[in-house]
């Protein structure tokens, strides 16, 4: 019976303090969810009913009509597609490039390591507005006839992918290089002595070991890029080309003509992130704290 304290701690008897704490947490959690539940309620009620009875009233009829209307009228599927075209390549490219940098600085070069990571991480922390004016001009200047629909980097999915990759690779390189440094050095040393090429070292030995960190970062990046609002507002001019999050503000004027439809449209936009979050909550949270804790 050496571990007396452990079982005592686990089987805490019901104390008034605990009940108070749970009451507090339940009330606060509900208060936290209240704005979302309010939006959900508005979205499920017909506009005619709420305009007649007011929004604070007992609902007579709940349906998903507003959701289907919002989805069809504004052709939301098209905008979800736009997001997909941007987010998938951006996440994959960011992970590829940042893991290559991390591999280099964590395995081969320790002097440059600090300088390079400093540049990448600092860049990731800058407010986007610091660079937007020249970036906007640059995107207008670069002609890509035949490659993008607009013939320029401006107003193209490619342009958004590039800035997402450039910006987010800072954070990812930082997290991944910390992760890779914790892998035993003998592992790669031995492979090198055996004559494996650097690329094989990276692709077949180091990357597979980084799967947990990569999964966490992929989850985080998907949500971040999906949620991006600013880059697309400035760097995309055609409403049709906007990813869903940024399109929301155009759609709300054009198609979502009453508050109930706005609520439905906003919630529909949030659904993919919520699914990712509920399914991959652990990855998301660990990705977020992986960077913050080491830093």
């Amino acid at each position: 019976m050496s571990t007396v304290s452990a079982p005592v701690k686990q089987r805490t008897p019901i104390r008034p303090a605990r009940i108070l704490l749970h009451t507090f947490l339940v009330v606060t959690a509900l208060a936290w969810l209240a704005p979302l539940l309010w939006a959900l309620l508005a979205a499920m009620r017909p506009y005619a009913e709420t305009s007649e009875k007011g929004y604070v009233s007992w609902p007579d009829k709940l349906s998903l009509d507003n959701f289907t209307d919002a989805f069809q009228q504004s052709d939301m599927l098209h905008y979800f597609g736009n997001t997909l075209i941007i987010a998938v390549p951006a996440v994959l490219l960011t992970l590829l490039l940042s893991s290559m940098v991390a591999f280099y600085v964590s395995r081969f070069d320790f002097r440059l390591n600090l300088a390079l990571l400093l540049v990448f991480t600092a860049g990731n922390l800058l407010p986007q507005q610091v660079i937007i004016t020249p970036l906007y001009r640059l995107y207008l200047l670069i002609d890509l006839p035949g490659i993008t629909m607009s013939g320029k980097l401006y107003d193209s999915a490619l342009g958004l992918v590039l800035i997402h990759v450039a910006f987010q690779s800072g954070f990812c390189a930082f997290v991944l290089s910390n992760y890779m440094r914790s892998l035993p050095h003998e592992l790669t040393e031995a492979a090198l002595v055996d004559g494996a090429s650097v690329w094989r070292l990276y692709w077949q030995i180091v990357l597979p070991l980084c799967k947990p960190a990569m999964a966490a970062l992929a989850t985080l990046l998907s949500i971040w890029i999906y949620n991006d609002f600013f880059w697309a507002i400035v760097l995309i001019s055609t409403g049709e080309n906007m990813p869903i999050t940024s399109a929301l503000s155009n759609l709300s004027g054009q198609y979502f003509t009453d508050p109930n439809l706005v609520a439905a449209g906003a919630l529909l936009t949030a659904i993919p992130t919520l699914i990712v979050y509920f399914v991959l909550q652990r990855q998301f949270v660990s990705g977020l704290t992986l960077g913050a804790n080491k830093g």
């Binding site: 604070v56 070069d109 440059l112 540049v119 600092a122 507005q129 640059l138 004559g195 609520a263």
Partner: protein, 326 residues
């Protein structure tokens, strides 16, 4: 290609000489001496391509902001770029009715976030760290707003604040003509209304950061403190909080950056109309508005850049120094 270890490390392209020198000095730490020529090229590309992309799109554009801030340019042709010295700055500091309010609002944004939702997030984290039941359920509820985009949050809160149909005015009976409380339009109210939404999101974020920090607190510290007869508050104040120092630093930096980046919520609410001007909004208005004042907008961006770097650089240097010692 054979393993030519005698070859000078300078053969590596892209790789700056400073780095290769360190391989020579500390061979035990690097794999440098085992590399073939092809390996060095591969490595150069692996480090070089991402670095070029990042530096070109992030750092060169930041430098371009600094350069453009000394000019006047309407964006039509390079010939129209005129050097104006510090004119944009003097104009900004003395003549722009929106600049100082914007600075003030950014400062208020930071102060509110650090004073209200941050301690509240810490409080929630401490409670949820007590090995209580349903901890995950509570965490999910508080963290939910962090996952959603700020644009969606803006729309959701507009349903709360709408003067006619919103939750608050409907509840307090202020949705009739003559009684309106215009949460979004009134310049004395709108910033605070938006800050409630921003705090709603920030508290969950802080909670998660502190929860992770608390997990790394050595449990024996807590036991020792309890054995000494300290109560919960004393233990927290004297034992737990001091060990959370690294987390506190991260929280401070994250909060400052959030306050400087604040944009989406305000843009969705009222596009930064009177009462909610922010530096980020002013920069953006100078490029997507009809008046394209590139030099002027860049000067505002430089102000943002200077404030950000004043926070980012000391933080990162301290972080990396600590890491090197470890």
């Amino acid at each position: 290609m054979s393993t030519d270890t005698t070859k000078s490390p300078q053969a590596a392209p892209v790789v700056p000489p400073a780095g290769t020198a360190s391989v020579k000095q500390r061979p035990a730490h690097g794999h440098g001496r085992l590399l073939t020529r092809r390996d060095r090229i591969t490595l150069g590309l692996m480090a070089g391509v991402p670095t070029i992309l990042h530096v070109a799109l992030v750092w060169l554009t930041a430098l371009a902001s600094i350069a453009l801030a000394f000019t006047s340019w309407d964006g039509i042709g390079f010939d129209s770029i005129k050097w104006v010295g510090l004119h944009n700055y003097t104009e900004l500091f003395t003549n722009n009715p929106q600049f100082w309010p914007a600075v003030e609002h950014n400062v208020i944004w930071f102060v509110v976030l650090i004073v209200l939702p941050t301690p509240f997030g810490l409080f929630l984290a401490v409670q949820l760290d007590k090995k209580i039941r349903f901890s995950r359920v509570y965490q999910t509820a508080f963290f939910l707003p962090v996952v959603m985009s700020l644009a969606v949050i803006g729309f959701v809160w507009q349903l709360v604040y709408n003067p006619d149909t919103g939750l608050i005015n409907s509840l307090i009976g202020a949705n009739k003509p003559g009684h309106y409380i215009d949460w979004i339009g009134d310049p004395d109210l709108n910033l605070w209304a938006i800050l409630v939404a921003a705090s709603w999101r920030h508290a969950g974020y802080m909670m998660i950061l502190y929860l992770a920090g608390l997990k790394s607190v050595d449990p024996s510290l807590r036991e020792a403190s309890a054995l000494d007869g300290a109560n919960e508050w004393q233990t927290f104040k004297n034992v737990i909080f001091p060990t959370l120092r690294p987390t506190n630093t991260v929280v401070l930096v994250v909060t400052i950056i959030e306050a400087l980046r604040a944009f989406d919520l305000v843009f969705v609410f009222n596009k930064g109309a009177q009462g909610t001007e922010l530096l980020s909004i002013l920069v953006t208005n100078n490029i997507i508005g009809e008046s394209s004042r590139i030099g002027y907008g860049s000067a505002i961006a430089v102000v943002l850049l200077v404030i950000s770097l004043a926070v980012i650089i000391p933080y990162l240097i301290a972080t990396f120094r600590k890491e090197r010692r470890a």
